[in-house]
């Protein structure tokens, strides 16, 4: 797999740059602040793990970085592009440069592994059907599913499904990968395999990974750990530093 040339271009500037970000849920009397004055810089090629108690706002921050929620207050520059004040349509287009890995694999049950991965390429209009097919096969081979390209998700194990999901997220060589608890549904060994594949591919392609996880067993793949509590970035508790 070729390394990503775009990755070089952005290495001089941060992949994610967030300043004075506030976010609220609800309206009127019920309005509740979820994120408080977040400042975060992530360099291109870094693997960042975001951790913290439930309800601390990790996922909210992740969805804002990914362009899945609009920025209400403050600034969020992703790959050099300001997301504050962009339209829903522009956000949709911006998302095509990202890879998403969810807690559940979210594969389409009516599509084979190959077709699912191909969906990750189809949003990019410049690719021909032959290229899409070739790239999809290649990445499925890399995640160790070269033998099962025509299997439906129902016929794959949990770990295999998550590997297809990773292949789908990474097949377009995204500059940023956003992952939310990718190992939560997997056993220890499968979970390990999955993050190892993610790490390997990310290093090869030079992409930035922002991962939310509670899973202490995988913290070691991170270049840096960000800790969140009550909607604020906070210093890492000592117990977790040991694990790193």
């Amino acid at each position: 797999m070729n390394s990503n040339f775009n990755g070089e271009k952005f290495s001089s500037q941060p992949a994610i740059s967030i300043h004075n970000l506030n976010h609220y849920f609800g309206k009127g009397q019920l309005r509740k602040q979820a994120l408080f004055d977040i400042n975060l810089e992530i360099q291109a090629g870094e693997i960042i793990i975001m951790t913290g108690p439930s309800g601390s706002g990790k996922t909210t921050l992740l969805t804002i970085c990914g362009g899945l929620r609009s920025v209400q207050e403050g600034s969020a520059k992703i790959l050099g592009k300001e997301l504050y004040g962009t339209s829903a349509k522009q956000l949709t287009i911006a998302r095509r440069k990202h890879g998403y890995i969810f807690q559940a694999h979210n594969l389409h049950g009516s599509l084979t592994a190959l077709q699912n991965v191909r969906m990750g390429l189809e949003v990019h209009p410049h690719l021909s059907p032959q290229e899409m097919h070739k790239k999809s096969i290649e990445i499925l081979e890399i995640v160790g599913l070269g033998e099962r390209v025509n299997y439906y998700p129902d016929d794959l194990s949990g770990g295999q499904k998550q590997r297809v999901a990773i292949a789908r997220a990474l097949v377009s060589q995204p500059l940023i990968v956003l992952a939310d608890e990718p190992t939560a549904a997997l056993d220890k060994k499968t979970g390990r395999d999955v993050v190892d594949i993610m790490q390997k591919l990310a290093k090869e392609q030079g992409c930035t990974i922002l991962m939310v996880t509670h899973d202490n067993r995988i913290l070691d793949i991170a270049d840096r750990i960000v800790y969140m509590e009550d909607g604020r970035l906070a210093p890492l508790p000592e117990s977790m530093e040991l694990a790193h």
Binding site: R95, L107, S110, L111, P129, R168
Partner: protein, 391 residues
């Protein structure tokens, strides 16, 4: 356009894959559309046969201009007007001749079942063909004999014995009212919703069946023009010349008159239209159910696609793709089953029930509309596919 086709070629046929993966659901959707199509085809087929069979007699009348009473409702209920109007009409320039025709419903006894049934009796001057039925026009000599009639070979009911006897050259006698009449010939015309069949004879024989009807009181006036005159112009002149108790119509106008009365005054057309509408809405409901179930069960996948950068239009496209596939595949049984049903219904009723290309096209378009409406309602559910909720 070329770019669009190129896009289509590289696109994963998601709608088709979703449908073909859930075969049970797909079959239900196809059956639903097929059912709706069959319902629409049957209603439209019956409606057409109603209009066609009930205006068939009007179309068969050979005349340039037709006079009927201004009280006339349709060919079953024509009312009558004075024969003198024919003489008056002859004064109008362009009119060559004017002939009377008598039409009335009469009950006769079926010689096989001994049951009394309503048939339509028609009487006219046998010196000249008045109807566009070749088999009648070659047997005009027969109906000049007293109490001799020609009967419809395509009448509704059990007449096999009568037909075979008449065809073998025997005369068959039966009762009409209190009179004994002879069926001495056959012709092929067909039943209508109003009458099981037609009896044709001379004006004299007709009037013997209806002793209460005066020869001077006629049902239809047939007017023939001299060459070079336009029926429309003569109609205008006749209308000005004749009293208000008659309606003056061109031959086509007479067909249209029967059609309009049926269409506007009888509830039958409304009932058939209602049946078509029911088929339409059954189709909408079934396809909507299928599509919205499908959207619901794929909501997570759709949200994932949105997260991956697919726009709302892409997902709308998937749903409409499914709708078009259901419409097209469902139309295949929905077209072929009515062909068989038309055949059965036509054989059972002797009514002109058959498929037409324009009806097939119309029902296909209706089917597409059904699926498009269902698809449009089902897409509302797509709004709830929010990629931010996926994490």
């Amino acid at each position: 356009m070329l770019g669009f086709l190129k896009q289509l070629q590289r696109r994963t046929p998601l709608g088709w894959l979703q449908l073909s993966r859930h075969k049970g659901r797909f079959i239900v959707a196809i059956s639903g559309i097929a059912f709706a199509d069959i319902l629409m085809f049957m209603q439209l087929g019956f409606q057409n046969s109603l209009f066609e069979s009930n205006t068939k007699l009007n179309s068969a009348i050979l005349a340039d201009i037709v006079l009927v009473s201004s009280q006339a409702k349709n060919t079953q209920n024509l009312s009558s007007f004075p024969r003198n109007r024919l003489l008056e009409a002859s004064d109008v320039p362009g009119v060559k001749t004017a002939e009377p025709m008598y039409i009335g419903m009469v009950s006769w006894r079926n010689i096989e079942t001994r049951k009394k049934v309503q048939v339509q009796a028609i009487g006219f001057n046998p010196a000249k063909p008045a109807l566009d039925i070749p088999e009648v026009n070659t047997q005009l000599d027969k109906i000049q004999l007293p109490d001799n009639f020609l009967f419809d070979k395509a009448a509704r009911g059990e007449y096999d014995q009568l037909y075979s006897k008449v065809e073998a050259g025997q005369d068959v006698s039966t009762e009409v009212g209190r009179r004994t009449v002879t069926v001495s010939g056959l012709f092929k015309f067909g039943a209508s919703f109003a009458a099981d069949g037609i009896l044709i004879s001379s004006d004299n024989n007709y009037l013997r069946l209806f002793p209460q009807q005066q020869a001077s009181s006629i049902n239809v006036g047939l007017i023939y023009l001299q060459p070079g005159y336009k029926p429309d112009e003569v109609v205008t002149r006749l209308q000005a010349h004749l009293p208000d108790d008659v309606k003056v119509l061109t031959q086509e106008g007479f067909v249209q008159f029967e059609f309009d009365v049926l269409n506007e005054e009888s509830p039958i057309a409304v009932i058939f239209t209602f049946g078509v509408a029911m088929g339409f809405f059954i189709g909408v409901i079934i396809v909507y159910q299928i599509l919205s179930t499908d959207v619901n069960s794929h909501l997570k996948e759709y949200a994932t696609f949105k997260a991956m950068g697919y726009g709302n239009n892409y997902l709308l496209g998937v749903i409409f793709e499914e709708a078009i596939i259901i419409a097209t595949v469902g139309f295949i049984p929905g077209f072929f089953i009515p062909l068989g049903l038309y055949h059965l219904a036509a054989a059972a009723t002797n009514l002109p029930i058959y498929m037409t290309v324009s009806r097939a096209i119309m029902v296909f378009i209706l089917t597409i509309i059904v699926c498009a409406i269902s698809g449009a309602i089902a897409t509302q559910k797509l709004q709830s596919a929010d990629p931010a909720d996926m994490f």
